[in-house]
């Protein structure tokens, strides 16, 4: 399964996209933001199951932290109401802080795990928090054709 992408930059600028896979939202616990842990079959030969499941689980835990209703969110809400919500002009909300952490986490995961395998995660916030988009790029590294890519044989013959 080893592909020869060395870094994220190369993936973004040189590789050609094969398809996009979408991990949908899991609404079984209500309207909280949570993604399904179901492994998409299109990624069967591109990445190990456990890695993707781990990523989704970590993301879900971040979202749980962001949307937690407890003492801190109550204080934040009361303070904001008392100042007619003007305090949000100078203060970042807890949700925004967690979103920054999520963005950093996704970037790190892309660099370490997904780009070397020819995949790219898109932050769910860029897709309306509806889906976790996984872009699948052509599998240039392997000489044998991979089922998900019709261009790999053309690509390798062009060299």
């Amino acid at each position: 399964m080893a592909t020869e992408f060395h870094n994220l930059q190369e993936l973004r600028h040189n590789a050609s996209l094969v398809t996009k896979v979408f991990v949908q939202r899991d609404y079984t616990e209500g309207t909280v933001c949570r993604f399904q842990a179901k492994f998409p079959s299109e990624l069967d030969n591109r990445i190990e199951r456990t890695l993707l499941e781990e990523t989704v689980k970590t993301l879900n835990s971040y979202y749980v932290e962001a949307e937690k209703i407890g003492g801190q969110s109550y204080l934040e809400g009361c303070l904001a109401c008392a100042t007619a919500y003007f305090v949000f002009l100078c203060m970042e909300t807890r949700y925004e802080k967690v979103l920054k952490k999520i963005s950093g986490y996704i970037h790190e995961q892309n660099e370490k795990i997904y780009a070397p395998r020819g995949l790219l995660l898109t932050d769910p916030i860029e897709r309306g928090m509806r889906v976790l988009e996984i872009s699948v790029f052509e599998d240039r590294g392997s000489g044998s054709s991979s089922p998900s890519s019709s261009m790999s044989s053309a690509g390798s013959s062009a060299r």
Binding site: L17, K20, V21, F22, R25, Y27, T28, E29, G30, T31, A66, E67, K68, I69, S73, Y74, E76, G77, C78, A80, C81, A84, Y85, F86, F88, T93, R94, Y95, E96, L99, I125, E126, R127, G128, M129, R130, V131, E133
Partner: protein
């Protein structure tokens, strides 16, 4: 003669489909019809101005200076809440990009299997179990997504809104997940302000009449009559509205669900989102996290970014970079019923991609919105 192209930064709000208007370079987001909003603003500011002009000087001296001070604080709070409700993104769900829309279509077709020619395909519904309750997620033909639970499509703004409550013409915007608490604080504080002004109007008239007589009082402060009239009629509606929303909050229901009777209790259907505890429900709705906007209105458009699937450009149109604001066709049916609730011919055309079928002569815009003639910056979607 060489033409010099000055490209200006195009922000994402300029390309957003839907019928919203944006101001201050994307910072402010409202519905198109703003007339009633201006009326609301005029009534509040006008009545309070009269109060400050006629009542406050007298009451500050003869009663207490805290009376106008508290009125000013309340007035600013009301205006702040109104503007916050009107100008913020209610929780609009962005439309699906082409790849996502295609992916969902493929999933639907796979789930439906082979539909024999001439037969209507089953309605696009996903069932999900929330808290031991089966909730149906409907497919939105305009936005090309399966709506999350509690989301609904507003036909006035032509957007799917998360936790859609209602479209309020008085604030000139939808009320949804992100601005519901501001809307509630607005109605609550406006009720208090109305009661406050009404009470002190009466107090003022009584106090003055003791000295000068009733008719003389009315002649000296004609504004009082106007204020009392406005407050009297406002009181019933606004206080009633506040009471209604307090009731909804305690049950963790939206106006939309209440009107449709989604959790009315027949067929043993219960609200799966309610914590069954009044305080917990209020806590969640009013003190929950402040959700961020997923629209990214102020982001700069990248070259080559795909347009949403719902506003595709026909290949024959000439690019016209100037006109940006008017967008997509609204569904003909002004509510969020899927075409499957309507005539069969409309549903047939909706599925025209999946199986060969005779097209009806008039292509209904509900199923596949007509592409607009403009929208210049469309690049080919990433293949």
């Amino acid at each position: 003669m060489s033409a010099v192209m000055i490209t200006r930064k195009v922000r994402k709000w300029e390309k957003l489909p839907g019928k919203n208007t944006f101001c201050c370079d994307g910072r402010v987001m409202m519905a198109r019809q703003k007339g009633v909003f201006y009326l609301t603003l005029f009534l509040i500011v006008g009545t309070c101005s009269l109060f400050f002009a006629f009542e406050c000087p007298y009451l500050a001296v003869h009663l207490s200076p805290t009376v106008p001070v508290f009125a000013i604080v309340l007035f600013f709070f009301v205006i702040a809440m109104l503007l916050r409700t009107s100008f913020s993104d209610p929780g609009v769900l962005p439309r699906a990009l082409p790849e996502e829309a295609t992916f969902i279509e493929m999933e639907i077709e796979a789930a439906n299997g082979n539909v024999p020619a001439g037969q209507r395909p089953p309605p696009r519904i996903r069932n999900v179990q929330i808290n031991n309750q089966i909730v149906k997620l409907k497919y939105c033909y305009t936005c090309k997504i399966f709506r999350p639970p509690r989301a609904s499509h507003c036909s006035i703004c032509d957007n799917c809104v998360d936790r859609f409550d209602h479209h309020c013409p008085w604030v000139g915007n939808c009320v949804g997940k992100r601005n519901y608490r501001y809307f509630y604080m607005f109605t609550l504080s406006l009720s208090l302000l109305t009661i406050y002004i009404f009470t002190f109007d009466i107090v003022h008239v009584v106090m003055r009449s003791v000295d000068n007589g009733f008719l003389n009082t009315l002649k000296e402060t004609p504004g009082t009559v106007l204020e009392v009239l406005v407050c009297f009629f406002t009181l019933w509606s606004v206080v009633g509205l506040t009471g209604f929303h307090t009731y909804l909050i305690s049950l963790n229901q939206t106006t939309n669900e209440d009107i449709k009777g989604s959790w009315s209790g027949k067929n043993r259907v219960q609200n799966p989102y309610s914590h069954k505890n009044c305080f917990k429900n209020c806590f969640e709705v009013l003190c929950g996290p402040t959700y961020p906007s997923v629209l990214d209105r102020r982001g700069v458009m990248q070259e080559g970014s795909p347009v949403s699937a719902a506003s595709a450009v026909p290949p024959s149109s000439s690019s016209n970079p100037v006109s940006q604001t008017t967008k997509t066709t609204a569904p003909l049916i002004p509510n969020e019923h899927t075409p499957d609730d309507a005539k069969p011919s409309i549903a047939d055309s909706a599925e025209k991609n999946s199986s060969p079928r005779e097209e009806t002569p008039m292509a209904p815009p509900l199923a596949s919105p007509e592409p607009d003639a403009e929208v210049a910056v469309a690049k080919d979607p990433v293949h």
